[in-house]
């Protein structure tokens, strides 16, 4: 029981990181980024590449993936979004547009990387910490063993991923509530038209949110090989559905609600997997539908239901 709960919280924090980028994009632009899971997948491939080429700790892939994807996001934004916003029904068409994008990403990755599963030895993650420990405090070198929490051992990568997620969510909070651009972002989130009318450069704010959203997805992707065992180019589609479940749980359009949604999802997932494993696959979807119907604004959030 303790194991399932703690593992649920660890996974949940990671899941929050998976969902938060998607939510930021939806909240600001009312765009459903169906290619979100593919950004995760690409982030995972960056991690695989960093390990494969340099043989260093995959944690170094985190800033690299973030920067690359923020830039890619800005570029993609200017190519795709203004044109989409001009159409009759951007919310619906965005689903289809980003489905197309996810097909393109998956196809290109398959062409260059093949369909085989990629994984990273989990002891490589966090080697930077053990190296520092060995250099400064002595002691024996080698991979990090299981980390003890409440008397139970958990794989080190889970803990590291959870901590990184917390830090990332903290940064999102700082960005949204303590920077000027973040305040403008929240203004656009709550009323796009009025924000435009007050002279806010909505396009610039949206582009920043889009870039950050993609960057966060890629950071989450770096840990995907450790959390899910391995990644393939086709892994993106499943990740997208899971992200949606988390985001809707928390509430669409409220990035910080996602943190709560992720933890709730993680704990539920671990509990069901422990006690009712054959029904575990069904859970996220049923949970998603129930939440949408009973409390459509998510656990934290404003009213969204119409008619």
């Amino acid at each position: 029981m303790t194991y399932a709960l703690v593992a649920g919280v660890l996974f949940g924090l990671y899941f929050s990181l998976v969902g938060i980028g998607l939510n930021l994009v939806f909240g600001v632009m009312r765009i459903v980024n169906l290619a979100h899971g593919d950004m995760l997948m690409l982030g995972a491939f960056i991690a695989v590449g960093v390990v494969g080429i340099f043989g260093i700790d995959p944690l170094f892939a985190v800033p690299l993936a973030f920067v690359i994807f923020v830039l890619a996001g800005l570029l993609l934004y200017w190519v795709l979004v203004p044109r989409l916003q001009g159409s009759a029904n951007p919310e619906m068409l965005s689903i289809i547009l980003f489905f197309g994008l996810s097909q393109v990403v998956e196809a290109i990755t398959t062409i260059f990387a093949g369909t085989s599963e990629r994984s990273i030895q989990s002891r490589l993650l966090g080697t930077v910490f053990t190296t520092i420990k060995v250099k400064w405090f002595g002691g024996k070198a080698g991979g990090a063993g299981p980390i003890q929490i409440f008397g139970q051992g958990f794989p080190a990568p889970w803990v590291i991923a959870a901590i990184t997620s917390l830090i990332a969510i903290g940064f999102v909070y700082l960005y949204l509530y303590h920077t000027r651009l973040g305040t403008l972002t929240r203004a656009v989130m709550s009323r796009r038209d009025e924000a435009l009318a007050t002279g806010i450069d909505v396009d610039r704010v949206s582009a920043a949110a889009f870039g950050i959203g993609l960057g966060l997805a890629a950071v989450a992707g770096v840990f995907a090989p450790f959390m899910f065992g391995s990644v393939t180019p086709a892994f993106g589609a499943d990740a997208t559905v899971t992200s949606f479940a988390i985001v809707v749980l928390g509430s669409l359009g409220n990035p910080l609600g996602t943190a709560l949604g992720g933890v709730v999802y993680g704990v539920f997932y671990m509990l069901v997997q422990t006690y009712l494993s054959s029904w575990a696959d069904l859970l996220p979807y049923v949970l998603l539908i129930l939440i949408l119907l009973l409390r459509p604004s998510g656990l934290l959030g404003r009213r969204v239901r119409v008619a």
Binding site: F26, R30, V32, L80, R83, L84, S87, A88, N89, E91, M92, L93, S94, I95, I96, L97, F99, G100, L101, S102, Q103, V104, V105, E106, A107, I108, T110, I111, A237, V241, F244, A245, V248, L252, S278, W279, D281, L282, P284, Y285, V286, L288, I289, L292, L293, P296, V304, R305, V306, A307
Partner: protein, 306 residues
Amino acid sequence: MPNALKHLLFILVPLIVVFAVLPGVYQNHLLLFNFVIFLILAQGVNIIYGFTGYLPFGYVGFFGAGAYGFAIMVMHLQTPAALAVLVGGVVAVLLGLLLTPLLRLSGAYFAIANLAASLAVLHFVANPALEGITKGPYGVSLTGTFNPENAYYAALVVLALTVGGVIYLKNSAFGLALQAVREDAVSASMAGVDVIKMRVIAWLASALVAGLAGGIYAWYVSVFYPDNVFSGDFSIFAIVFALFGGVATITGPIVGVLILYGIYNLIGFTTPQYFQLIYGLLIMGLVLFLPAGLVSLATRRGWHVP
């Protein structure tokens, strides 16, 4: 001559005749069958998305439910295939009824909830705990009813009914009311349209169509796994085909299927990832440059497209 009759004579009849004659001239029977199935599904999407604006991202849920309704009737009750297909349609309608609360959601929320619903049905059917009823993830084999010729003609009948339904929507007060609801539900209800009833009827009609198609698909292929008949590709393909041609028209989805599924078969089988690339780019180009579909090329010039 009234418009409805014109549409029947010049769209429905030629379409059915061509697909009824083709098996005699063209050898790849399975390919023709898939064309018919996608024509049905694209028109089913057209009914719900084109006329009410709800994007059924988990449309395959009805298709799979129909296939499994068919399979269960044949496996456990040894019903004749044609009857089992009807049961498949009924199962899909029941699933549609179960999911009517989703219609309260709007926009992307509906699409996501519908996707989740279809995945929930998939995992329900594929659950090893239900092996006694659905055979769980191990798939079903229905060699007793295997009869591709009859299944093909049954599919043609369903296609005729579906296209007929769309012709009705296009030419009736009911279809007009639906489109009014799509554009502005509040104004439509002020004008005396029973919004909820309209939406539910369209929703169940499109569920019925997909369920019948699923039953016939099960009849035709006779051996399948849950992942086959609940494959998200069915939803996506049907939606993209319908959109590519242009929704809320009779001809749009037909043109979309013939062109896109034709391209798919030309290049898709040999090099799937290149097809996926072209397909993705095509979809993106479509949304960015032709959001109202191919028919908008004609309507922009002021031509009327049925």
